[in-house]
């Protein structure tokens, strides 16, 4: 039914384009809101129009976003990778889009070398180089291809224990290893004896203890903890302090009652409590679980994964299946530990940008004043960052709200078309690994994806749109 013309009073106007026309409306005493329009990324006009006018797109994006927001992630188990995801001897998972040993960066190589020693494939990291170069008895695969995510190098080997997260409504699962702490750790490419000793302890003591505790207690609602963390100053990527402590609170009693050796329990509590990033490895698979639900909606322009392997930065898009759109990973702009400097830093690495993909991390910067200085210094900048991300996202997540922004939900569902239109790139908070295998962490800071991967993805979406129209 058509409404009468008299109901369409133009009492407010949004003007995009020539200011003269906005001015003409203002001259009639009608309020005008001006769009700060700028030309889209070069060469994207036709594809943008094609995708914008795809009849599937509006509903497809609404559906993808709704599916993502409906997911609840609960911690249901802790299992070695070979049990959790069927990882076989000689198989290595890594962060980011697919990559070969030849193209792998220092930290990824270091982590793979350490992983080979951990699995007993070789006796020393040095021998691992020959094994991995040969490639005959090893297989590299992205975590994302096995329903998993890994921070930094993201290397997973069969004996490593993994958190198992599940959406009770669908039974869908995702996985992530246990966080090793900061400094010299495998995920930053370090493989010294102390790194391997810690990993063995995690396999032998921490993993089994956590398994018993998780199985004995109420499932830990990771999605709900994420909601609480955001109100406590964590953005769940570079700050996970409140989340880690809430996790300890929820699981502590069951850990104590797990029947494990009391000194092992104490060591586990000390280890988890002393590692502010422990919860990151729960936040990441929770985000992946939500985003996996948004995959494969034909016509949707929503990004479902952002990920880096230390060489390439890749994204996957709901409406473009499992295809990766990749470009060179950038070096983060940030602050360095000790006397490390930009020349020591490896390009961006890790699956942890899954948090930004889900609206956390850099997207939730406004809620984490304790670390806003990564954004360039000030609280207003942090607020501006979160608001800027609203420009490139499909909606907000009502479960994850930011008090200082009047409890607005975090900006959720990165829209490839909006990135191409505005040139605003997703803001990612990240740690920086040393360029050289074995060094470990050198700093932390801010990074963006390479711009060109968004037009790449847009081109593919436009091709698919045109194919459907034929």
């Amino acid at each position: 039914m058509t409404s009468p013309a008299s109901e369409h009073v133009a009492d407010r106007v949004v003007s995009v384009g020539a200011d003269l026309l906005a001015q003409a409306v203002e001259d009639q005493a009608a309020p005008v809101s001006r769009v700060d329009w700028r030309p889209p990324l070069p060469g994207t006009e036709d594809d943008l129009a094609t995708v914008a006018l795809d009849p599937l797109r509006p509903d497809a994006n609404a559906q993808a976003l709704a599916r993502m927001l409906a997911v609840q992630a609960v911690l249901v188990d802790v299992l070695p990778a070979h049990e959790a995801i069927g990882l076989e001897r000689g198989e290595f998972l890594h962060a980011g889009p697919p990559i070969t040993w030849e193209d792998a960066s220092g930290p990824l190589r270091g982590a793979l070398m350490g992983g080979a020693v951990l699995e007993g494939l070789v006796d020393t990291p040095e021998e691992a180089v020959a094994l991995l170069e040969g490639g005959l008895h090893v297989r590299l695969e992205p975590c994302h291809h096995r329903r998993a995510v890994g921070p930094m190098a993201g290397v997973v080997t069969p004996s490593m224990w993994m958190f198992v997260l599940e959406d009770p409504a669908t039974g869908a699962r995702t996985h992530c290893t246990l966080n090793e702490g900061l400094g010299k750790v495998l995920r930053y490419g370090a493989y010294s004896p102390e790194v391997l000793t810690r990993l063995h302890w995690m396999n032998d003591v921490l993993g089994p203890l956590l398994q018993r505790a998780v199985r004995a207690s109420e499932p830990v609602d990771v999605t709900a903890i994420l909601g609480q963390m955001l109100q406590m100053g964590d953005e769940a990527h570079n700050r996970n302090r409140a989340g880690t402590l809430m996790f300890l609170r929820d699981l502590g009693p069951a850990l104590v009652e797990s029947g494990g050796d009391i000194s092992d329990v104490a060591e586990a509590l000390r280890f988890v409590g002393g590692n502010d990033h422990f919860f990151l490895n729960l936040a990441m698979p929770a985000c992946k679980l939500a985003l996996d639900a948004a995959r494969d909606v034909p016509g949707s322009t929503m990004v479902v994964a952002m990920s880096r392997n230390g060489t390439d930065f890749g994204i996957q898009v709901s409406g473009a299946g499992d295809e990766w759109f990749t470009g060179p990973a950038q070096v983060a702009d940030g602050l360095y530990l000790g006397d490390f400097g930009p020349e020591d830093a490896n390009p961006d690495i890790g699956d942890s940008a899954i948090t930004e993909t889900a609206g956390l991390g850099g997207f939730a910067m406004a809620t984490a004043p304790a670390i806003v200085r990564f954004v360039g210094g000030s609280v207003p900048d942090a607020l501006a960052t979160t608001r800027r991300m609203q420009e490139i996202t499909l909606g907000e997540n009502p479960r994850w709200s930011v008090p200082v922004l009047e409890f607005a939900g975090v900006p959720s569902g990165i829209d490839v078309t909006k990135v191409c239109r505005t040139g605003i790139l997703p803001q990612i908070n990240t740690g920086m690994a040393g360029r050289v295998a074995g060094v470990g962490q050198v700093g932390a800071g801010l990074v963006n994806p390479p711009e060109e991967i968004f037009p790449q993805a847009l081109t593919r979406l436009a091709e698919l749109t045109r194919a459907r129209a034929r």
Binding site: V9, W37, E45, Y336, G338
Partner: protein, 469 residues
């Protein structure tokens, strides 16, 4: 490192700062003259390791609750200066942010509508980007007027298909004029509210009817532009139907008028059936050979409303013609088309009439519309004025919101004293910001004959031309 460096390590208690702040402090200290290396950090195991790797000696009793200030000075470094800077860096608060403000303007139409839901959207970005912004408006449930031209017709069809059935209206593309709830959009004349509703596939055609109706004492509350292609076979009148349906549903509209080029044959039949199904009478003002011109159509409108048809104003007297060619220099596309129909009907051979629409795409690439920037038309005017063969110059001046502030200011001096007679249509109302009378006065004073009706002006120009034959 030279042997002249000296290390200073102090442990402070009761001080805490987050690691990011401390990394910034450290960097600031490292940059001071005379500082070889420096690190200010909480004594966490990781930081102690880092400090020891830098070969600082850290007391064994330092814990995570202690702040370590470790400074290595070159021989000429002044420890007091450096320590003072550490204190300052640790205590000073950052001032007001100079970075991006919280209220950065929206970058897309979607973002703007998130802040101002329900707004009508006016799109005038370059054609290749217009459909994208227009789609933002429709998805957010807003009507949109697309002023931009150069929008491919298949994009227009896609936009209008989306809008149809959602009670949304796409005005345009290439829609120059609309009046929505009394508010003029694009190039629009100021008219009082009234009983006539307009649907126009032509911007200046709409403005001519608005101006004539205003002179006849009839106001217009709603004039929807639908874009010049809406009644083509490709678009099929999608926006015209929605626009007519809205006027039909509005009890304030007594009579609707559709201003357009004749629709495509297949659209004409459907449209006639559709207008017949409406409760509100719809008068068709279709431009073309053998059809009533806009002035005649407006006269029909006034009669249908039971109003008197006024005498259309003419002011000024012009010179007699000496040349034989008619030069029509227009800023309004429909003004030019209407004149062309009349010129052809009068039997003027094509070589004796040159009609140019300076608003046509070929004249507006890389420059503003001639209603805003008159320079191109003024250049051509000077050429034809100097041409011996020019018999008469026919022009239009379009007033209203969006148009040039004072078009007569540049046009009057350009016609003053030229040899050929000049006939001008001034399309405007008494309420237009430029002042109708002031514009007409200036042009009359410069020697032009000024009409309100473009059809009458064209006939007068033909008459002047005929007198020279």
């Amino acid at each position: 490192m030279t042997s002249s460096t000296s290390d200073h390590v102090e442990i402070r208690t009761g001080v805490y700062a987050d690691s990011v702040t401390l990394l910034q402090v450290s960097r600031r200290i490292q940059e001071l003259p005379g500082v070889n290396a420096a690190q200010v950090a909480m004594a966490t195991p990781l930081n102690v390791e880092v400090l020891e790797r830098m070969r600082f000696v850290i007391p064994a009793d330092a814990t995570v609750n202690h702040l370590v200030v470790a400074i290595r000075l070159d021989g000429d470094g002044d420890l007091d200066v450096v320590r003072a800077e550490v204190d300052r860096a640790l205590t000073e608060r950052r001032g007001q942010a100079s970075g991006p403000t919280e209220d950065a303007p929206p970058r897309t139409t979607t973002a703007a509508l998130r802040r101002e839901p329900g707004s009508l959207v006016l799109v005038s970005v370059p054609g290749p980007s217009a459909a994208v912004e227009a789609m933002d408006a429709l998805e957010s449930g807003s009507d949109v007027m697309v002023f931009s031209d150069n929008v491919p017709v298949e994009q227009e069809v896609a936009l209008k298909r989306y809008a149809a059935g959602r009670d949304l209206l796409v005005m345009g593309p290439d829609c120059g004029t609309a009046v929505v709830g009394g508010l003029g959009l694009g190039f629009a004349n100021v008219v009082p509210p009234g009983p006539v509703g307009i649907v126009a596939a032509s911007g200046t055609g709409c403005q001519q009817v608005l101006a004539l109706l205003d002179h006849g004492g009839v106001g217009v509350t709603t004039a929807y532009g639908v874009g010049g292609r809406d009644l083509s076979a490709e678009v099929g009148g999608l926006a015209t139907r929605t626009a007519l349906a809205r006027l039909d549903a509005d009890p304030g509209v007594e009579l609707a008028v559709l201003i357009s080029k004749p629709p495509a044959d297949e659209v004409a039949g459907e449209l006639t059936a559709y207008t017949g199904s409406l409760g509100t009478p719809v008068l068709l003002a279709l431009l073309g050979a053998g059809r009533p011109d806009l002035t005649a159509a407006t006269e029909d409108l006034l009669r249908a409303l039971g109003r008197d048809v006024p005498t259309w104003p003419v002011r000024g007297e012009t010179r007699t013609a000496t040349g034989t060619r008619l030069h029509g220099l227009f800023v309004g596309g429909t003004m030019k088309q209407e004149a062309a129909v009349l010129v052809t009907a009068a039997g003027v051979p094509p070589e004796r009439a040159e009609l140019i629409d300076f608003g046509d795409d070929e004249y507006t690439i890389g420059r503003a519309h001639p209603m805003i920037d008159p320079s191109l038309r003024l250049e051509r005017l000077a050429e034809v004025a100097a041409d011996e063969t020019t018999g008469v110059v026919l022009m239009d001046v379009v007033l209203g919101h969006g148009a040039e502030e004072d078009p007569a200011a540049s046009l009057a001096p350009a016609i003053d004293g030229i040899r050929p007679p000049v006939v001008i249509t001034v399309v405007g109302t008494a309420h237009d910001p430029q002042g109708l009378d002031r514009q007409v006065d200036a042009l009359v004073a410069a020697g032009a004959e000024v009409h309100l009706s473009n059809a009458h002006a064209t006939r007068r120009a033909l008459e002047i031309l005929g007198g020279s034959r």
